[in-house]
């Protein structure tokens, strides 16, 4: 029979081991990325961050892809935030319980649709439609990518903002109503401000999804290593970091592989920064309601 103390120790070390293991994996991935990217960083230096991409002339500037990633992510947010916020306000504050019970799972189901399906719809339906409507050069464009990514970011934004607003104590909403505020005044002045950290972190998670998405984007963005002209031209084609890696990976060798790993580091960094911001905001929400300032 093992003593209780020993058992406790064993549990302690087992879980410590598991936690360490997952941290180690992340570190290995990062180290691996660096080792693999190093030859490109060494050989190209700041050329890596230029906008010139020409394989025959040995120019590998990934700036167009970085720009493309940020551009589609911001564009997707412009599409998804108003829609998502509106939908979550309706779900959490206005919809009768019966309708909420049907709608919320349906919206969350949108998150479960494989991204290739979105890409396919984007390429076949949306791309064609935009092509016909605006008389563009081809069915691929930033606009198509932005619209599809906006829809893909929607379920996360709706679901997380809804949770944030549902978490605002009913006491507060009652207090506002009892002071003669209308339902809309209560939503605008009490519920949304009280849930703002949660809503912001929902938006950032949505943006993370838009930046990390590969398959759907690859099918509709055009995969051209070029900055859009002018820089906000949504009808132009371009590339994103994820699509760049996915498209080039299969048929590349030599330094291009290292360049792709450098693109991976870039992506990793962007997403990591966003998730840190999101965590920070979550902590602040909790503090706000525990009375710390």
């Amino acid at each position: 029979m093992i003593s209780r103390k020993l058992k406790d120790k064993m549990v302690h070390y087992t879980f410590f081991g598991i936690a360490t293991f997952s941290v180690l994996i992340i570190s290995f991935i990062f180290i691996f990325l660096f080792v693999k990217a190093y030859p490109a960083i060494d050989a190209l230096g700041t050329g890596l961050l230029s906008k010139e991409w020409n394989i025959s002339r040995n120019q590998f500037g990934i700036l167009p892809a970085i720009y493309g990633s940020v551009f589609v992510a911001i564009g997707a947010l412009i599409v998804a935030v108003p829609l998502g916020l509106g939908a979550s306000i309706y779900l959490s504050e206005i919809a009768p319980n019966r309708i909420r019970m049907i709608l919320k799972p349906l919206i969350e189901l949108l998150a479960g649709i494989p991204s290739i399906v979105y890409g396919f719809i984007g390429a076949i339906l949306l791309g064609r439609f935009l092509y016909d409507t605006f008389g563009m050069r081809g069915p691929n464009s930033f606009l198509a990518a932005i619209l599809i990514l906006g829809i893909m970011a929607l379920p996360i934004i709706v679901s997380m903002s809804d949770d944030a607003m549902k978490a605002v104590p009913k006491d507060l909403k009652d207090a506002s109503l009892a002071l003669g505020a209308t339902k809309w005044q209560t939503i605008r002045k009490v519920t949304i401000p009280a849930a703002i950290s949660g809503i912001t972190s929902a938006v950032i998670m949505g943006m993370g999804r838009a930046i990390g998405e590969t398959m759907a984007v690859m099918l509709i963005i055009g995969s051209v290593m070029r900055m859009p002209v002018p820089f906000f031209n949504v009808f132009d084609t371009g590339n994103t970091l994820t699509a760049l890696i996915a498209v080039q990976m299969g048929e590349s060798h030599g330094i291009i592989i290292n360049v792709l790993f450098a693109a991976g580091i870039m992506l990793f960094t962007i997403v990591a920064v966003m998730s840190i911001i999101s965590d920070y905001l979550q902590v602040r929400t909790t503090e706000k309601f525990e009375g710390k300032r």
């Binding site: 319980n97 009652d174 207090a175 506002s176 009892a178 002071l179 003669g180 002045k189 009280a194 300032r293």
Partner: protein
């Protein structure tokens, strides 16, 4: 015209005006309330006198909170609630189809069981009601006046910009009272305002209630019989959704007519 001045009605539609006897602020008439299929209030009849404190007492689950929340239609926020009967305020039925909840709640302020200040600054908490009702008032003046009325100004006058959640529980509750006073209601409803507070904070709030009845009509729900005896002029005793006995506090506590009231008051059940 009178209706407009009273601010109870949105338009001058057909509505019943019923003169309430002199000195009466509100009248509850044959009022029933259901949560889904459960009947929580059974044909309640009660009068609330102007500038008096009316206490509602009774064991847990007897419907006293439900009744007080009916007085400013806060139960409307619960989807399954259904009501029958009338509640009159200054001669107008607040459950009439033409009545507007927002206007009613402006006339009838409420303080809740748990202090529930907004996570804004103290001053913004007070000013909120004026803001949402579009009252054109001087913010500083309203904040000072209401905090003074709620007997808390001296304690916190140098911290008006601080977050309201940094106050102690008792201070938060007095802030909530001050906040309710800012919209200049006629009636103040208090749903067990001291249940989350310590004895010292409770004593402060009870003193405050004595002061408040000069300007307002106060209705207070309490599970503390000593409190009812100390602060109220009239007492209603409820049991299982029915109003068992209603009368002057002195009479209810010294000479109850109903056996059930006597048993509850003497602590033999409840």
């Amino acid at each position: 015209m009178i209706k407009k001045i009273l601010g109870i009605l949105k338009d001058d539609g057909e509505c019943v005006y019923k003169e309430l006897p002199n000195g009466m602020k509100m009248r509850i008439e044959d009022f029933d309330l259901w949560y889904g299929k459960t009947q929580a209030l059974k044909s309640v009849n009660m009068n609330i006198k102007k500038n008096k404190v009316t206490a509602i007492i009774g064991p847990s689950g007897c419907g006293k909170s439900t009744l007080i929340r009916s007085l400013n239609r806060m139960n409307d926020t619960i989807p399954s609630v259904r009501t029958e009967g009338q509640i009159w305020l200054d001669g107008y039925d607040i459950y009439d189809d033409t009545a507007d909840c927002v206007d009613i709640r402006r006339k009838i302020g409420m303080v809740f069981q748990k202090p529930n200040p907004f996570p804004f600054s103290i001053a913004d908490n007070i000013y909120y009601g004026c803001q949402v009702n579009g009252m054109k008032v001087d913010k500083d003046e309203v904040v000072k006046r209401c905090l003074k009325q709620a007997a808390i100004l001296d304690e916190i006058s140098d911290r008006l910009g601080d977050n309201a959640l940094s106050l102690s529980g008792g201070q938060q509750q007095r802030l909530c009272i001050a906040r309710a006073l800012a919209i200049e209601p006629d009636v103040l409803l208090m749903d067990e305002p001291c249940s989350a507070l310590d004895p010292i904070a409770t004593a402060k709030i009870e003193d405050l209630i004595h002061e408040l009845k000069k300007d307002y009509t106060v209705v207070i729900v309490t599970h503390n019989m000593q409190q009812a005896a100390r602060v109220s002029d009239y007492t209603a005793y409820m049991y299982l959704g029915e109003l068992i006995e209603f009368g002057k506090t002195k009479q209810i506590f010294e000479n109850p007519k109903e056996e059930s009231t006597e048993k509850y008051i003497t602590g033999r059940f409840g």
